[in-house]
């Protein structure tokens, strides 16, 4: 098992390098010079000086190595628009997205797992059918649309919750921060909730069809105790799914963050795209992708501990 | 093509195999572990005369099926020479892969898995001829002809799909498919092993019948000693990738020389309820083929193992009747084994 984990960790390195290469290339796919897009009409001499100061006059492979080298030491350059260091901006945004992602995963896990397990346990009843239908709707719903509906209902019509921003309060624990977080977290939770519900339902149904459940019943265990056994067996799979969903959330939150003007990485990415703020653009994509790779790695490793059979496959 | 046969006046065997070898690398858990090899088939030689049946027996994992796949060139051998009808296989001016496969065909064990579930059985049978350039309608006609040859009414079964047939019917289809290219040699790899006993007998009789009618030569691979005795003219006994004894069916079943062959035969279930086996003649599992014991590979389970068996690998040595050969120090004239027979 140790060898499997080691191999899995080592395998992540070429993937990470590939990811960084893609991020770098992507940004240079765009026509024109990153600076000229920002600076507009300026005199050529000044532009050339600026270019040299940003290192944009060097050949691309060299630019890549310099960029990667400094990115690894936490230096991702300065925003072309605001002049602020990219790394700091990124960390602040990432913290906001992380909070949102954790909240959404939590909601998704709680609702999805309980609904899914309940549906699987009462397989074939109307509850089961309702949960299955909701799960299909959950993966089909455009979450940016769900976000708008939530705003219309809870902010515009009922006036209960704010529709924009993360709140002025510095503390994540303040009531104001909670209120701001609630709607975006629910909008983001739709997909993980649906996927978790599907997995949990399938998992519970599979376990219930196994012989050891019969044995438990034969021993006279109450249905409640049996449900406990079943959920304990289903838990590792469901946790792995929510882990992967969490990784998807962080990268996929851009649309919901735009709707709510939530100051996270997605919102930052959106601004950077339309400002053509290359350093911020590169930094954000790189950070999100690397985080995705890392989360996948962690989930994989945790799963090996939960189910040693995996390492032999 | 048959110049050599004619010139010598002494027919060369239809198939002759010398020093066939295949080692499979084992995927290692560790990073810097030495590369381990499974010695699946190690230096196996035999020949089959035209019109006869050679049976290959042995426990599972002894390399029987690998031998079949090597002969069909479904996997490439590491070493060894194969002659078919006197012509070397896959050498310059030898038999091409295409020619080899037209002359040599194979029936697999799993009758279901060896038929494409998305093709009607007559299309499965016609696939081979079509691949060799026979136009569609003609190939289908041939397929239907073959279906009736193996005892299946083409109107009733031709357009069916594999899942709509029983195991025995499917295996008949597989036999028909193997015959579709008019081969001279058919390899039957555990072809009847998965069938019910009553069906097995029917298919075996069909095979004997076809062999006589179409002048076929069989290489019959099975773990079932009774079936091999029933169908074979000669028998090759394999153990851990090695040929340990070869001879006529009489020699092998009535005058077995190798302790392994003797033990195999002794462990056969008998029809007589009064006869009970006092103890199992073969105990334990075969050793790991990744690290086969040096010397004689059977010595870890052999009652007569001595010093020399651990040091020297016994070569297949001719003994007694013509064509009877055994790889055991007890039968090698100048070995230092104390029990000389």
């Amino acid at each position: 098992m140790l060898y499997y984990i080691l191999r899995r960790v080592l395998y992540t390195i070429p993937i990470a390098i590939g990811v960084s290469l893609i991020v770098f290339t992507l940004v240079h796919l765009a026509p024109g010079d990153p600076l000229s897009a920002v600076m507009g009409e300026v005199d050529q001499k000044m532009l050339a000086e600026m270019r040299a100061s940003f290192g944009y006059d060097k050949p691309l492979p060299l630019q890549y190595l310099i960029w990667l080298g400094s990115a690894l030491t936490g230096d991702m350059g300065y925003s072309l628009r605001t002049g602020a260091p990219v790394f700091g901006t990124l960390i602040d945004a990432a913290a906001n997205t992380m909070v949102l992602g954790v909240a959404a995963s939590f909601v998704g896990f709680l609702v999805g797992a309980s609904a899914g397990m309940f549906a699987g346990y009462h397989h074939g009843t109307w509850v089961d059918k309702a949960v299955s239908a909701a799960a299909i709707a959950g993966v089909s719903i455009p979450h940016y649309w769900l976000a708008i509906i939530l705003v219309i209902v809870f902010s515009v019509q009922l006036g209960w919750l704010p529709s924009m921003g993360a709140g002025a309060g510095a503390s994540v624990l303040s009531w104001d921060a909670w209120k701001h977080m609630l709607l975006p977290a629910i909008a983001l939770a739709a997909i993980p909730c649906a996927i978790v519900a599907r997995t949990a339902r399938a998992c519970v149904m599979e376990i219930l069809s196994m012989e050891f459940v019969e044995a438990l019943r034969a021993r006279g265990l109450s249905e409640r105790r049996i449900l406990l056994h079943v959920s304990r067996n289903a838990l590792p799979t469901v946790l792995a799914v929510i882990g992967l969903q969490f990784a998807h959330l962080l990268g996929g939150s851009i649309l919901v963050e735009v709707v709510f003007s939530w100051p996270g990485t997605g919102y930052l990415l959106n601004l950077a795209i339309f400002d053509r703020d290359i350093p911020v653009l590169q930094g954000t994509i790189l950070l999100l992708a690397l985080f995705f790779v890392l989360t996948n790695l962690v989930v994989d490793i945790l799963q090996t501990f939960a189910d040693p059979r995996i390492s032999r496959a | 093509m048959n110049t050599r046969e004619i010139s010598t006046g002494h027919p060369a065997p239809l198939l002759s195999v010398r020093g066939l070898r295949k080692y499979f690398p084992v995927k290692s858990e560790r990073f810097f572990a030495p590369r381990l090899m499974v010695q699946a088939v190690d230096d196996v030689s035999f020949s089959i005369e035209a019109g006869e049946t050679l049976g290959i027996v042995g426990e599972s994992g002894c390399g029987k099926s690998t031998t079949a796949r090597l002969l069909m060139r479904l996997i490439a051998p590491d070493a060894g020479e194969v002659d078919f009808a006197g012509r070397p296989v896959l050498t310059e001016d030898g038999l091409s892969l295409r020619d080899l496969r037209r002359n040599m065909q194979m029936v697999f064990q799993d009758s279901y898995a060896s038929l494409n579930p998305r093709l009607a059985v007559q299309d499965s049978i016609a696939f081979g001829p079509r691949a060799h350039g026979v136009p569609g309608p003609k190939a289908t006609a041939k397929a239907r002809e073959l279906l009736s040859l193996v005892g299946l009414d083409p109107d009733q079964f031709g357009r069916r799909y594999p899942h709509e047939l029983s195991g025995g019917q499917r295996q008949r289809v597989n036999v028909a498919r193997a015959l579709a290219l008019d081969p001279r040699l058919v390899i039957l790899d555990e072809a009847v092993s998965a069938l019910d006993k009553s069906i097995e007998a029917q298919v075996l009789n069909l095979l004997m019948d076809l062999k006589a009618r179409l002048q076929l030569t069989y290489l019959f691979i099975s773990h079932d000693l009774n079936v091999v005795q029933y169908i074979s003219d000669h028998v090759l006994v394999m153990y851990l990738g090695k040929a340990v004894e070869v001879g006529s069916v009489e020699d092998i079943y009535h005058r077995p020389r190798h302790p392994y062959t003797q033990a195999l035969l002794a462990s056969r279930p008998t029809m007589d309820p009064e006869v009970k086996l006092e103890r199992s003649p073969l105990t334990g599992d075969p050793p790991n083929p990744i690290n086969p014991p040096p010397g004689c590979r059977f010595r870890t389970r052999c009652a007569f193992a001595e010093d020399v068996c651990g040091r020297v690998e016994p070569a297949l040595t001719s003994c007694g009747a013509t064509g009877h050969a055994v790889a055991c120090h007890m039968h090698i004239p100048d070995s230092s084994h104390s029990r000389r027979q």
């Binding site: 993937i15 990470a16 590939g18 990811v19 893609i22 991020v23 940004v27 796919l29 765009a30 026509p31 299909i136 089909s140 719903i141 455009p142 979450h143 940016y144 649309w145 708008i148 509906i149 705003v151 219309i152 515009v156 997909i191 998807h248 990268g251 996929g252 851009i254 649309l255 735009v258 709707v259 990415l269 653009l281 999100l288 992708a289 995705f292 790779v293 | 479904l74 080899l100 496969r101 194979m106 697999f108 279901y112 898995a113 060896s114 494409n116 579930p117 998305r118 093709l119 009607a120 696939f127 081979g128 357009r159 069916r160 799909y161 594999p162 899942h163 709509e164 195991g167 499917r170 498919r177």
Partner: protein, 310 residues
């Protein structure tokens, strides 16, 4: 809104009928059907799939025929008739923030939105399917190389990769299409490779090789027919994802640009009007939702009709 996990696919061939051997069919009782005929019959008997297919056909048909349906010009603005509520006379579904007819725009919008949903998957299916088939059939080093390359692209969440590519290339329908296509190539390659590898290992492919047939003929006769089903099922799921992502790109301004009628873009421009005409603002999203869900349900129906486990 991500390409669903692509690794675990188990091929099951024998489940269309009772266990093999269990049935000895008497002569003439059942006309043997091809596999695809069986799948067709099963699909036709599934009410959900039929309903979804009907809805999709209606949306797509209306979209294609939009210019000839006698609808108001989807681009004709009218400052006096802005944000008329749903059910107004002459404007069945009201008007948008520039007074354009909503019904007409929703129907016309289907042209671009459906194209952006289906086209990237179709192109990715051609490219990724070929790659996966070749990698799976050849195996060995080629397989390693192709799969490791797709692993790198797979290391991005779908939506992030789409936004990153489209954002780097710049706004526009063409760039958005290209971005989504690139996003879907790796998952399709993976699924095809995994199924092909499974099929290739089966005895009937071995038997086909033993008959001396060439690789191309074996792929055409024996591999393709067995690989197509599961891959197609997967592709229909991706269409539903593709519709969400492409509309999402337009929603943040990376896809279609005004005044084009496109559902994601309409959702974006109407966002300002949620205070005045919330129902109008929600309509384009509803179209996205319905089409995406129909593709999802059809995929489910196909999956159980073909008995593929994804």
């Amino acid at each position: 809104m991500n390409a669903p996990e692509a690794q675990r696919i188990t091929l099951k061939f024998d489940a269309l009928t009772p266990a093999p051997g269990a049935m000895e069919v008497p002569v003439g009782v059942m006309l043997p059907r091809t596999y695809w005929q069986t799948v067709g019959v099963r699909l036709a008997r599934d009410p959900y799939t039929a309903a979804c297919a009907f809805i999709l056909l209606a949306i797509a048909g209306a979209a294609v025929l939009a210019p000839w349906l006698g609808l108001p010009d989807p681009a004709a603005t009218n400052a006096a008739q802005r944000l008329l509520p749903v059910g107004s006379s002459g404007h069945l579904l009201g008007t948008d923030e520039l007074g354009r007819d909503m019904l007409s725009r929703l129907i016309h919008g289907g042209r671009l939105s459906l194209t952006m949903g289906v086209l990237p998957v179709a192109v990715a299916l051609a490219i990724g399917g070929t790659l996966g088939l070749v990698a799976g059939f050849i195996g060995g080093r080629t397989n390693m190389l192709v799969m490791r390359l797709t692993d790198v692209l797979y290391a991005f969440p779908s939506i992030l990769l789409a936004v990153a590519i489209a954002g780097s290339l710049g706004a526009g329908v063409g760039n958005a299409l290209l971005a989504i296509t690139i996003v879907f190539i790796p998952p399709i390659t993976r699924v095809t490779e995994s199924v092909t590898t499974q099929v290739r290992a089966m005895d009937f492919v071995e038997a086909a090789r033993a008959s001396g047939a060439g690789a191309f003929r074996i792929i055409r006769t024996h591999i393709l027919g067995n690989v197509m089903g599961p891959v197609f099922v997967y592709a229909t799921v991706l269409v539903s994802v593709s519709i969400l992502i492409s509309a999402g790109l337009s929603f943040i301004g990376l896809g279609a640009s005004p005044p084009t009628a496109e559902w994601g873009l309409m959702l974006n421009t109407l966002r300002e009007s949620i205070f005045l005409a919330p129902l109008n603002a929600v309509l384009p999203g509803f179209m996205i939702f319905i089409t995406s869900m129909c593709f999802n349900l059809i995929s489910d129906g196909l999956r159980s009709a073909m008995d593929v486990r994804l």
